[in-house]
């Protein structure tokens, strides 16, 4: 499942460990395709993920923080940025068609690549995602979901493992109070929370490049981490903001704006 991380101890020990890891990975599941990873291109973020990036053939879950739990704007754009950096067609399953595609095009997602599948029920979104994942050959399958039960997430994870397609679940709830559902366990490989932060200061009045507070809340075979990043650019890439990444970070008011 996981590849060796950068050696921290002496050469010999790390060799043994990486060898063991490989052998365990080969034991874990025989059907898993070696799919590799999609690096963020941000060394700090990639270091927090086993394999040095978001693994293909796995389910990744994104949710917003605060008001973002309902609108899911930042989470959707974060997922779109990842999808934009994959290759191949993308299937986007949703129930509420309020996505404004020009914004997605601005993070490098070509509208020709994205096929939207709109259904009435949440369960249909799960079924459609699974169908897309088991089809194979897609770049990523994105689904906007309210509920992601354990069984459903397990099915998605297994389907993703079989074909090596990346599954991205954007969670958005009807009410902000329902969002504690995000604490429930799921079978997803990584789980992220993306909250909007005040934008970067500009020397002139105006809104600078948006910043996000990205929390890696859970990752298989890895530890949690938090990053303050600058939002996706026109190629879907993030980069680390100069601000501190701990929670003590409080945005100072721009000296230039009113």
């Amino acid at each position: 499942m996981t590849a060796a991380r950068a050696p921290r101890t002496s050469e010999g020990v790390s060799d043994v460990i990486s060898d063991l890891r490989e052998r365990i990975a080969s034991l874990e599941t025989s059907t898993v395709k070696k799919a590799g990873c999609l690096a963020f291109g941000v060394p700090e973020m990639d270091a927090a993920l086993p394999g040095g990036g978001l693994s293909y053939g796995a389910l990744h879950e994104f949710a917003g923080g605060g008001a973002g739990t309902v609108d899911g704007a930042a989470a959707a754009l974060f997922a779109a940025g990842i999808a934009a950096r994959t290759k191949g067609p993308i299937v986007w399953c949703l129930t509420r068609p309020d996505l404004f595609f020009p914004a997605l095009a601005q993070v490098g997602l070509n509208s020709d690549r994205v096929i939207f599948v709109e259904s009435d029920k949440d369960e249909d979104v799960l079924a459609n995602m699974e169908e897309g994942l088991s089809f194979g050959g897609l770049g990523a399958v994105v689904g906007e979901l309210v509920r992601l039960p354990m069984v459903g997430s397990r099915r998605l994870q297994l389907a993703a493992e079989r074909t090596g397609t990346m599954a991205l679940a954007v969670r958005r709830w009807r009410r902000q109070t329902e969002a504690n559902d995000f604490g429930q366990p799921t079978a997803s490989t990584t789980r992220w929370r993306v909250s909007v932060m005040p934008s970067e200061d500009l020397p002139v009045p105006g809104v600078g490049r948006p910043r996000w507070f990205v929390e890696l809340m859970r990752v298989k075979a890895g530890g949690c981490a938090e990053f303050l990043v600058r939002a996706c650019d026109d190629k879907g890439r993030l980069d680390l903001s100069a601000g501190s990444a701990d929670r003590s970070h409080s945005p100072g008011r721009s000296v230039h704006s009113a």
Binding site: D71, A73, L77, Q106, V117, F135, V196
Partner: protein, 472 residues
């Protein structure tokens, strides 16, 4: 329109103008001529009529339901069971059917009922364009209708009239035995059919061009695996037939005949001609669970209702070329499950809600893109929501806004981005102006708000503020 039978000539159809002059269907031709001088008489051509009806029926077969047949000399019957929810219910469905006929300059009377007989009678009795008989209300709907709508031979109808029977209800309440003795079993059979006491399967219309493969079973089958196995074999057969003719299937129907005389149909469509066994098998396998075998299945029939030419193409054998995945089978799977599948494409419009259009998921790639140098929100509210804002006129961003009951202090803002109304779309947009601002509140939430009007001229808008989108 004059029909002939022996030496008798009578009016078999009349247009609106003729009806106004008093010409009715059924009156002798000589009488009609006497009613109106210079009445235009056209001899009825039954053969051409029948051929035209068959053509219309074949067209209807490709529309809603896999089971469509010619009904009498002037009607079409469709089995719409399971088809109505896809159109949003029975009422939208019948309206749509009527409109589709209207679009082809055909005036149709559409009726939906529990049984073929009831629908037949209601469609011919109504003066409106559509009628829906609610489930279980057949008796009430048909009891007052004349017996001529019972699909009996004209001789029997006129004899019953002589005996004083007028409505279907009267006939249904009479003892069966004497009627049987006098007229034979036909009346009883038709009455049972109209009330749904005996089943009346609809034999779908077929022509020589339709490619059809069928398999009958000596012993009725019922197990899911068995059904799947034979469906798979039928698909292979159908593909072979298609291959011979160089066709690909666009729409295929699987018709299941059951032991108790009922019929069920499953339809699968593809976005482009297909001749791939795995692809079609997947589409039908998805839905064979919907088949209710009941007491067993006697016969499975697979028909390619719409087939289009499909030429063999050579796959590029280049090793370096990147492989492009063809997603049309996946699109078919989604489409056959009744989900909306589409792609989004730019529209040449500056008004945000008009700048995106839905196109077919298999449309050719669109080269143009949206103009990228203005920030656009990730979520666009379905309708701009009214907010209260405090702002300096004419062109300052708001200092604070209240949206959905929450007051936000605006820390940073960008704008205005002025968007003019499109006068060619609506008259009211002649002068209309929207000034869009990107605003950011103290918690970092970014919103897209606009003021209707340019802040100076009240003609351009009433200076109310709206929230239109949410940025990431």
């Amino acid at each position: 329109m004059i029909a002939k039978s022996g030496s008798k000539r009578w009016v078999s159809a009349a247009d609106a103008a003729a009806k106004k002059a008093g010409v009715r269907v059924g009156i002798p031709a000589a009488k009609a001529q006497a009613l109106f001088r210079g009445l235009m008489l056209v001899d009825a051509d039954l053969k051409t009529d029948a051929a035209a009806l068959e053509r219309i029926t074949l067209w209807a077969l490709t529309l809603y339901s896999p089971i469509v047949a010619v009904d009498g000399v002037d009607g079409i019957v469709m089995d719409t069971e399971g088809a109505d929810h896809l159109q949003g219910g029975e009422l939208p469905m019948v309206t749509k059917i009527a409109n589709q006929f209207l679009a082809r300059k055909l005036t149709a009377r559409v009726a939906v009922a529990d049984t073929w007989g009831a629908a037949h009678a209601c469609a011919r009795a109504i003066s409106r364009e559509t009628v829906i008989v609610p489930i279980g209300q057949t008796v009430r709907a048909v009891e007052k209708l004349p017996i001529s709508l019972l699909r009996l031979a004209p001789k029997i109808v006129s004899d019953l009239h002589t005996l004083g029977f007028q409505s279907i209800g009267q006939l249904a309440n009479t003892a069966r035995a004497p009627l049987n003795l006098r007229f034979g079993p036909e009346i009883g059979r038709r009455l049972d059919q109209i009330f749904g006491r005996v089943s009346e399967p609809i034999d779908p219309i077929r022509t020589a061009e339709l490619i059809e493969v069928a398999r009958s079973f000596a012993e009725p089958i019922g197990a899911a695996e068995t059904i799947n196995k034979y469906v798979g074999r039928l698909i292979v057969q159908l593909i072979e037939e298609l291959q011979k003719k160089g066709l690909g299937v666009r729409r295929a129907d699987l018709i299941v005949d059951k032991v108790d005389g009922t019929r069920q149909a499953i339809r699968a469509g593809t976005v482009k001609p297909a001749r791939d066994v795995a692809w079609l098998t997947k589409l039908f396998r998805d839905r064979t669970e919907k088949i209710e075998p009941g007491f067993g299945i006697e016969k499975l029939t697979l028909v390619a209702v719409i087939a289009e030419p499909l030429e063999e193409t050579q796959k590029s054998s280049s090793l370096v070329e990147e492989e492009v995945t063809d997603v049309s089978p996946l699109i078919d799977i989604y489409g056959n499950r009744g989900h909306k599948v589409y792609r989004l494409a730019p529209m040449a419009s500056d008004v945000p809600e008009r700048s995106v259009q839905r196109i077919s998921a298999v449309a050719d790639p669109i080269a143009v893109a949206w103009v990228g140098h203005w920030r656009r929100p990730v979520r666009l509210l379905p309708r701009p929501e009214l907010i209260t804002a405090i702002a300096l006129m004419p062109d300052y961003p708001p200092a604070s806004i209240t949206w959905r009951g929450k007051r936000r202090k605006v820390i940073r803002a960008d704008g205005p981005e002025r968007i003019f109304g499109e006068w060619w779309q609506r008259d009211s947009e002649m002068e209309a102006v929207r000034d869009y601002f990107v605003i950011e509140d103290e918690s970092g939430e970014r919103l897209w708000v606009f003021r209707s009007g340019d802040g100076v001229d009240p003609e351009t808008g009433d200076h109310r503020w709206f929230c239109h989108g949410i940025f990431a």
